[in-house]
Point group: C2
Chain length 401, copies 2
């Protein structure tokens, strides 16, 4: 069923029940895709356009999409599994009466024949009322509904109790469906291919911007999109968010990639490092320690493990393997349709790992005057352990000048 | 002065005065860059990370940036003009004591020696108090401060009156500074080069995805980023948001590009159409009418003109030139760091054009069963007229198969 592709319904229904919610309303671009499969372009390109998904709890009604009339073509094209689509606002669509239309065009026409609501809140209120939920307790993803729309919603439905639920949805999203896992795996592959392509142009005088252009060209050639691209050479490798500059590669430089992209709306976040020339003993030892820290995570990750234990195992390994003063506030995080999903791999995280979680495990180290070094892998929590998404070695790549 | 590069201070101060505001707080990624020049990566990559700019009214205090300790390297690298930077949260940064550090690293160290606030609100409250604004009326960009943080802010400063000011900032941003104009001009150039590169691969069997890959490769090769890429061939050209698919080009297809990218954080939004083979008389006439509508805008645009008059002139021209039933709710919009800046070129917009506004003027037409056709130019309102950013003709490109 297409409806099962992204949303983990058992988890969603359980979370709604546990919080005594009659439903939840997704408002962010990420949660709209997650709950419905519908990619509403304007939400991804700007911050204020409003598209919602009303998702009733099990047995409490039918899901509905609320979106602008100007996005109806995307409904016809993407065919999300939710049939109840409420559109708002004027959009002009002409029709050549003299020819037969294709199925997509007919679907678009049918959608344009549905009532035109004045605005997103009017449409959402109608969907809530039509489901008999006008005296209910509804979760609302508070991240992307505008404050003006939220005020209007509360005024229109005085008997609904709205509960902020962005974090509930983040928890639901933590365990991925097979389709989500496939997309994340591909996102990671594209990231690695793009890093490899960039490393391949290493030569004296090549700039961080040159590396980025090569990285980005490879990413878009595989239908990915660059999102957060940090590439630092030499002293700039120690800048945690190094934004590519004209800084030219020279012998004795570390090269740090910490790069994130998007593939079919799902994110990657990986890191690999190289060294241009012969690294000294300290760089080798430090990077090896960081790498072993990430590898250690594969040994300890499995369902039921308390997340902070992963943090502790990684930190102890890095310290024991050659970086005794290593300090971090986290060594990884969930990843999915958002760049940071639950859980944060941190010392205070007492939740447990579950099968189907996809994690980034990372050991960045930034030492001003020395280098920035980092390994970051993406992996899947399986029934009895962890399965990497990476096809390249996390070891420091020594590049002959 | 670096401080003059993006923010139009005379307009900002005038708007604050007119609204009796003692200052304004930027919270969205766009407004943070606009007010400070500071590009806070995490805000651009995700929706929830919090970075703010406190901008007091003229003579009411010193501007301040509030950001995460983990982004301090970007402050050191980008050197925004605002000196008062308040950081929150833990971030581990090591230092090699045995070597002299470069200026950027020293700047980072100095910033890390400033107090570490517990969270973004604590840091913002301190900046407000240190400016003596704890009993004032402050505008707040309501778009991107989280509701949790806004609640906390109101609790911490019960004597401050907060006024939602995203639309005030949008109005301020409508008139661009020379640096903004230069970036927008370059963004448009990159968009056109990318469209040209895509058109250049036209051949029977080339898919919309092939067009997109070529478009995107060209964009990233010029340090742009693709944002909203609509490319439709044949019947799919009539889908207003056509997302590139495997649909292969064949003789008799219209090809519609409506594409938006980003360059140095500033947006492009342009449209050009082609026809693969010999278009019939109707397609030629319709496209010509749409093109003449856009060209008409150049005749009427100048400072002081009421925006709805531009709408009317464009609509009348399209109708008179061969598309008598043409209907639209707008034929353009401002563009800047956001994809839609003030004004919307619409029949009810009674504001007037000002020198330094940058506008998109567009005449899309979607006819199911025929084609989607569109021209969209970016232009600058000058002292006595309009100056195009476009270097390619908006006419329909006839592509020989």
């Amino acid at each position: 069923l297409a409806s099962q592709r992204l949303t983990h319904f058992p988890r969603l229904y359980k979370a709604l029940d546990a919080n005594e919610l009659d439903g939840v309303i997704g408002t962010s671009a990420e949660n709209v895709v997650y709950l419905s499969g519908f990619w509403a372009m304007t939400q991804w390109a700007r911050r204020t356009p409003q598209t919602y998904v009303l998702m009733p709890a099990q047995g409490k009604g039918e899901a509905a999409i609320v979106t602008s009339s100007g996005l109806i073509d995307l409904i016809a094209d993407q065919k999300p599994w939710i049939d109840d689509v409420r559109r708002y606002g004027y959009f002009q669509l002409d029709r050549n009466e003299s020819v037969a239309l294709c199925d997509k065009d007919l679907a678009q026409l049918r959608l344009m024949e549905t009532p035109e609501y004045a605005g997103p809140v009017e449409a959402l209120v109608a969907a809530i009322r039509d489901n008999g939920l006008e005296r209910s307790k509804l979760g609302i993803d508070e991240v992307s509904i505008s404050v003006q729309c939220f005020d209007q919603l509360c005024d229109a439905l005085p008997d609904v109790t709205f509960v902020r639920s962005a974090s509930l949805l983040q928890r639901v999203r933590a365990v991925k469906t097979p389709e989500e896992i496939a997309r994340l795996r591909r996102a990671a592959q594209i990231g690695e291919m793009s890093i490899d392509a960039a490393f391949a142009i290493s030569a004296e005088g090549v700039s961080e911007l040159d590396f980025m252009r090569e990285f980005n060209r490879t990413t878009v050639s595989h239908d990915g999109l660059p999102v957060s691209i940090c590439i630092g050479c030499g002293e700039r490798s120690a800048m945690s968010n190094a934004q590519p500059s004209e800084r030219a590669l020279k012998i004795g430089d570390a090269i740090r990639f910490d790069v994130g992209g998007r593939y079919q709306h799902y994110r990657s976040d990986i890191s690999r490092c190289g060294f241009f020339g012969e690294p000294g003993e300290q760089i080798r030892r430090y990077h090896n320690a960081l790498h072993r820290g990430v590898l250690r995570a594969y040994d300890v990750i499995k369902p039921g493990v308390v997340v902070s234990n992963v943090f502790n195992a990684v930190m102890e390994t890095v310290r024991a393997e050659g970086l005794p003063h290593y300090q971090r506030n986290h060594v990884g995080h969930g990843i999915g349709i958002d760049g940071y999903d639950y859980p944060n791999v941190a010392p205070n995280e007492k939740g447990v790992l579950e099968e189907g979680m996809v994690l980034c495990i990372e050991t960045p180290y930034y030492e001003l005057g020395l280098a920035g070094l980092q390994v970051e892998d993406m992996l899947l929590v399986t029934a009895d352990g962890a399965e990497t998404f990476m096809s390249t070695d996390g070891a420091l790549r020594i590049i002959e000048p």
